[in-house]
């Protein structure tokens, strides 16, 4: 993978890349979305459009409101004001499962696997519109047997793709942190979503596994899905994101393609810091500048 650089989507926006810029084909649009907790305004987004078929990264300092904004978009929390449209349809006031049915699914920063179900059972739960739901219908296998087999087939196909198939009969509790991240992502795909939202997919995953996770995210885009993800790992953001949205103190403060956004002084000051490209061994005076620095 390291040899073939991902193909970036460009020309996503109309006009200058600034906060709230219009996109050619937005899949998700948020307007005047606010959410306060007591006196604290956690989210105050004037306008945001997420481009369809591209990978958008949402970055920003701790406490900027990224996860709260995610919760609002996915129906896990309700905004105080504002409108949100997914695929042209208003999702304000909808519950999380209704939004998921429309094709907008998410994962969580701290994985939420059902630990005493097996990996395969976790996957099968992810599928929607199951005919066997309801006490009466569940008693008549002929109603759901065919669908059940299809769901299982899809689950196994996805587990193969995420290299989890050997674990399919293990309890989800026995998976390592990185494997749970993979399971979350695989389960989200059970619904055939059009927008996948990932909350810190790389947090707590070791660098070597990161690359295969990145490959999976890039595959989603190849298959025509839109990806919106929150992440602190700037190498990942630079590597795969087509578009970057920067949040600070609840507001969108910058938007644009990764390379230009990350050069904006406000973004460097608030988030990236001035040591991004330098060796901390040099910064702290532990090694000579001549010795370090060449690797980073």
């Amino acid at each position: 993978m390291s040899n073939n650089e991902p193909v970036k989507s460009t020309g996503l926006h109309i006009g200058d890349a600034k906060p709230g810029v219009a996109k050619k084909d937005p899949i998700l649009v948020a307007d005047h979305v606010t959410r306060s907790f007591g006196g604290l305004t956690a989210v105050d987004v004037e306008h945001l459009e997420v481009p369809r078929g591209a990978i958008t990264a949402l970055i920003g300092p701790n406490g900027a409101g990224k996860t709260t904004f995610f919760n609002l978009l996915t129906g896990f929390d309700t905004p105080n004001t504002g409108e949100m449209h997914f695929d042209g349809k208003s999702v304000r006031g909808m519950r999380s499962h209704q939004i998921a049915k429309l094709g907008q699914v998410r994962t969580f920063q701290l994985t939420k696997a059902l630990s005493l179900l097996t990996v395969l059972e976790n996957m099968k739960l992810g599928a929607g519109n199951q005919l066997g739901e309801g006490i009466l219908k569940s008693l008549i296998p002929s109603i759901w047997r065919k669908q059940e087999a299809e769901i299982e087939e899809r689950a196994i196909e996805l587990l193969n793709r995420f290299k989890l198939s050997e674990k399919k009969d293990d309890f989800a509790a026995s998976l390592s942190g990185g494997q749970r991240k993979l399971l979350e992502m695989a389960r989200a795909l059970m619904t055939n979503p059009s927008l996948v939202m990932l909350d810190e997919p790389m947090a707590g995953v070791n660098p070597a596994l990161t690359e295969s996770l990145l490959g999976h995210v890039l595959d989603l885009k190849k298959e025509g899905m839109t990806v919106l993800f929150v992440e602190h790992d700037m190498h990942m953001v630079r590597h795969i994101a087509d578009w970057v949205v920067v949040m600070a103190e609840g507001k969108i403060v910058a938007e644009g393609p990764p390379d230009s956004v990350m050069e904006e002084q406000a973004v460097i000051d608030a988030y990236l810091g001035s040591h991004q490209e330098t060796d901390l061994g040099v910064v702290t005076g532990r090694v000579d500048a001549s010795e370090g620095g060449e690797k980073q």
């Binding site: 406490g63 070791n206 660098p207 061994g281 702290t284 532990r286 370090g292 980073q296």
Partner: protein, 239 residues
């Protein structure tokens, strides 16, 4: 020279019959900054917890300045000069910064003022906000309170479990610079990190832990340049 900390052939785990550490070895000389990296589930945090008496050691030994400390409980270890900063939930949120620091030196309260000076010298911003509740602090600030508290007992060795976890890039860099400052102030430091590159950049020596064993050992620079370490643990993305 006797190392400050020496771990020999350590076997340890949580569940009966399942070892997380399978014969891990490690030493830290006085004044060294040691970085431990490795894949998820390699036993990095378990190694720190075992040194700090939070996990039962099944075999092997741990010594502090040549004295056997295997199996000693955490409070005894703190009194002997071992400090530990856990990864999560490492401050008392309802207590103020000052009270959190007092908790760090409850075994020796008469030296509070003297040690406070040392901690505030490294973490200047904490000194200005001693009366603020720790629960109202950001992730990066909490990490500093937790490190400050562990430094109150004037430890000979400080064990840090992922000091950069969950912090934004600029805060991560800050945390690493502080760790380096603490070490420069004379505290032998052993740090476990997921941000392997940053960790190795400031480490004097590093260990790659894999499946509960110390798989590779070398200076921070050697590990960063070792193609096998890059392939298996660092990934090529950051280079």
């Amino acid at each position: 020279m006797t190392p400050v900390i020496e771990v020999k052939n350590l076997l340890a785990g949580y569940l009966p019959g399942v070892n997380i550490l399978n014969g891990a070895n490690l030493y830290a000389n006085k004044g060294e900054l040691i970085g431990i990296i490795g894949p998820n589930g390699a036993g990095k945090s378990t190694l720190l917890k075992a040194i700090f008496g939070l996990v039962n050691v099944r075999d092997g030994s741990i010594s502090l300045n040549g004295e056997d400390i295997t199996g000693l409980k955490a409070n005894k270890l703190v009194a002997k000069g071992v400090g530990f900063v856990p990864q999560n939930n490492n401050v008392f949120p309802s207590l103020t910064i000052e009270e959190n620091l007092q908790m760090g030196i409850y075994q020796d309260p008469s030296h509070f003022d003297q040690r406070l000076e040392f901690v505030v010298d490294i973490f200047g911003e904490l000194g200005k906000r001693l009366k603020q509740r720790a629960g109202s602090l950001s992730g990066g600030e909490r990490q500093m309170v937790a490190m400050g508290r562990a430094l109150m007992m004037d430890p000979q060795v400080l064990l840090l479990d992922e000091p950069s976890a969950g912090l934004s890039p600029v805060r991560q860099d800050e945390a690493f610079i502080r760790v380096s400052d603490i070490n420069k102030a004379g505290v032998t430091t052993i740090m476990v990190e997921q941000n392997a590159r940053r960790c190795l950049q400031i480490s004097d020596r590093g260990y790659v832990l894999d499946q509960g064993v110390d798989a590779v050992e070398g200076s921070g620079r050697e590990l960063m340049d070792d193609p096998k370490v890059v392939e298996l643990y660092l990934g090529s993305l950051g280079a």
